[in-house]
Symmetry: C2
Subunit: 556 residues, 2 copies
Amino acid sequence: MRIAMAQLNPIVGDIAGNTQNILHAIARAKDQGAGLVIFSELAVIGYPPRDLLLKPVVLEQMAAAVDHISRQCVGITALVGFVEQNTAAVGRTLRNAAAFLRDGAIVAKGYKSLLPTYDVFDETRYFEPAPQLQIVPFENHKIGISICEDLWNDEQVVARQLYPVNPVARMAEAGADMLVNLSASPYVMGKNTFRRKLIAHQAQRWKLPVVYVNQVGANDELIFDGNSMAVDANGRMLAQAKDFQEDIVTFDLPARDTSQELLEPRQGMESLHAALVMGLRDYAEKCGFAKVVLGLSGGIDSAVVAAIAVEALGRESVLGVALPSRYSSEQSLIDARQLAAALAIKLDVIPIEEVHHAMEHTLEGLFKGTQPGLAEENIQARLRGNILMALSNKFGYLLLTTGNKSEIATGYCTLYGDMCGGLAVISDVPKTMVYPLAHEINRQWVKAGRQAPIPESSLKKAPSADLRPNQTDQDSLPPYSVLDAILERYVELEQSAQNIVAAGFDELTVRRVIQMVDSNEYKRKQMPPGLKVTSRAFGFGRRMPIAQRYRPLVIG
Amino acid sequence: MRIAMAQLNPIVGDIAGNTQNILHAIARAKDQGAGLVIFSELAVIGYPPRDLLLKPVVLEQMAAAVDHISRQCVGITALVGFVEQNTAAVGRTLRNAAAFLRDGAIVAKGYKSLLPTYDVFDETRYFEPAPQLQIVPFENHKIGISICEDLWNDEQVVARQLYPVNPVARMAEAGADMLVNLSASPYVMGKNTFRRKLIAHQAQRWKLPVVYVNQVGANDELIFDGNSMAVDANGRMLAQAKDFQEDIVTFDLPARDTSQELLEPRQGMESLHAALVMGLRDYAEKCGFAKVVLGLSGGIDSAVVAAIAVEALGRESVLGVALPSRYSSEQSLIDARQLAAALAIKLDVIPIEEVHHAMEHTLEGLFKGTQPGLAEENIQARLRGNILMALSNKFGYLLLTTGNKSEIATGYCTLYGDMCGGLAVISDVPKTMVYPLAHEINRQWVKAGRQAPIPESSLKKAPSADLRPNQTDQDSLPPYSVLDAILERYVELEQSAQNIVAAGFDELTVRRVIQMVDSNEYKRKQMPPGLKVTSRAFGFGRRMPIAQRYRPLVIG
């Protein structure tokens, strides 16, 4: 039996477009001799569809699309993920479904059993779990259908089983001789290595081949890396799809040739870089933007985002804007110019002195007798935001924000100022990781025979917001190496102040950092979507109250 | 037996403060002769605690608080809502719990069975359902413990049962002779009437008294109206707590006096008004702001928000700012002044001409040869936002946004402009409802012997953004009566374009409105929290993808 894994990049909600893409993949799989082509989770609508699922018309369209696809399945069977109405009288109204389609009919159906409802996942908001497991006879096989999370609740793999059942174990015990998993598993650095181990483990534990088809492409905050794969009953790789791009891969079961070379999916900074490039490209394209604009401060964050934008959309589609103020160092503008030249992008230089002066004059009476401080600094950042948004509105650019995770965590950024934009490209990349990412970008450009785009000066100089004379980030923040270590413990690992201090960090610094994180939820509430690359990103997967008074105190 | 209902206003996460408030209520209940005092759902941490629950130290603090409270329960028993670790080896790590506390011990415990995960609710993100129902012997009663949603899954009441069990039915059948419900049921216009019917129905159906203790106070988007109540086995009211304020009410079971007068909770505009006043006050106070600032355009929206702010915080705590531009009509400033005078608040007038001119000059070269349009209009709104935020930053005001639901739905508002602010007070009030709300405010002020604050002119004139000469809202939008009717169908009822057209609306208008709603998710993603008063508000309870291409088309 020849099987195709169709790793496609759907646009969320674009049922008509996704259906066309699915039909093309079916035709290609058929051309390649496949008898079965397998798509990813919810392939018809794209993952995650969120509250589009509350629109009855969307469900009707999805049913029509599945019917339409089934009529094109002649000489080949397609296993397609979609959402179905729950026909039971009681319970949530929907199911996360997968159907075998052939000759105008739904030949067999399976449903998702384990519905992730944590981090960025909200599946029990919509779905009822599978009423029973589904083992589908296909040619000489008995295929156990599972969807994404169904594969993960293995007591030998996870620290805690969130669900009382293990659908894989049940299907193996019930006689499945092959396991298929339709997935939409978002990218997190290092996760693909874990996934490969998990899939090999399942194959070896249950002694059956596993076919894992993952979504690819980015949707809002979530980046799906693809990396679909099939392994035999010994966990040996039979076929692999590429990372960060659409791919259709066929393989034979039993394998004709097990001597093939393994693809090595990208790791570390290389994978982070590829993820962000795809994340930016997909967000822009799926929102209908052909070009982007961003402010170039001369610092490393905007340099990295500019390089990623050029890689994602091409240099003609990127406009850099330098917005020098009276406090900007000369070096800032030199670095911005050098970056723009190396990236070969257009650079507009728009000094903000005139509007800055006019704003000061406008507020003079009201501010008389006060000391210059944050209010005055924020004014400049907001005037820059206003100018960049004016360019966005006038010429149709998507404005990118360039803040990193460390800044956003501590609120070291100006709401309606440098936080203006449609996408926060590196909002989940801590400052200490921006540097190796920048080096990786430079390395790749040099390897491709081009000039390293990110200026040495941006890599070397002390970070500064340039909002008052001789300002540096370290006037307001602990050294980034210390800050990021504390933030990882507090934000990603949910450790308490006490735990972090016990690990050897200075107590006053820890308290100060935590206070900054907690008191800036209101800013993050209003930030644009940011590309998630760590296990816990600010955004949809981290839901903190704003009007709250959590204090790390023991009562009594 | 004498029972006290303690309807308190917790601050989310403030375990120490909430515990003190609970202890005061216990002391008061004891003074009033109660043997049992009942608190609302999650009273120790406040509802909704969201991802604060992912912090292990919060769980430890909560356990310590429950222990501390139990030691103060001498001569009285307290039934208190909190969150507990799930001690089972498998499943989500927490439970939504209620404990009978007395003499330093947890005498009995119950858990929530039905975990709402829709709209603004995320409970399966955190909790496992109750492993079994809990009927607790207390004096001569057998009390069935239920928590909020547990009361609602009654096939005689709801259109669809979301859950396969009805815990109330089970407890009644298992011999409970009294039902207690600890609740955190958010305000929606008209919901209290439904709640009263539901509770009377449960009492009559199962022939047992029902004691319903609801949270009061606002937390971020959610307003809890209180309206706690106890009914006898015939559904007759035994005791009622006030709406929109803390209250402790005692009653005897069996009732000594059933001739008492019924409170009539506020309805319609009166209740909406009370809800918004409490919503604004609590958000400001719980975020630590003593005063607010807002732009006064002379229009009805900002007038209504200003009046609500004065009612919530007092006139000394409210600063109005008029920000006239070259396009502002004279009447706009006259109306703003009249409003400020009637409210007796300070009004600063800050013309934006100088900064507007400077910004035009700054962008002149880049904008040469283009037609003035949205970009130029947004610049003015953003300069106003910049000035208001400068005042906020400099003097510590909470900036209020004044956009209504119709504007926010259609994107007829400027991101980083008039959308700047910490709280969107009327973001869930459609424009056609702003008028009756304004009349209600004027009526109440007149009734209290004061001048009606909202100027006749603001109530009568055609709404305008004043961003170009002679602009009115109806240049860009359908008449509000039509717009709001379409929006209600599309946003609140999730009807399709086809359905709405079939109901008699003009097809082009319907398509245009839907297109405006769908293409402005990116703005709403970045809006401040808005007070929820309808069944479907923009914000946490409506989760739409941004990079999506949902189109109301049938494929095939």
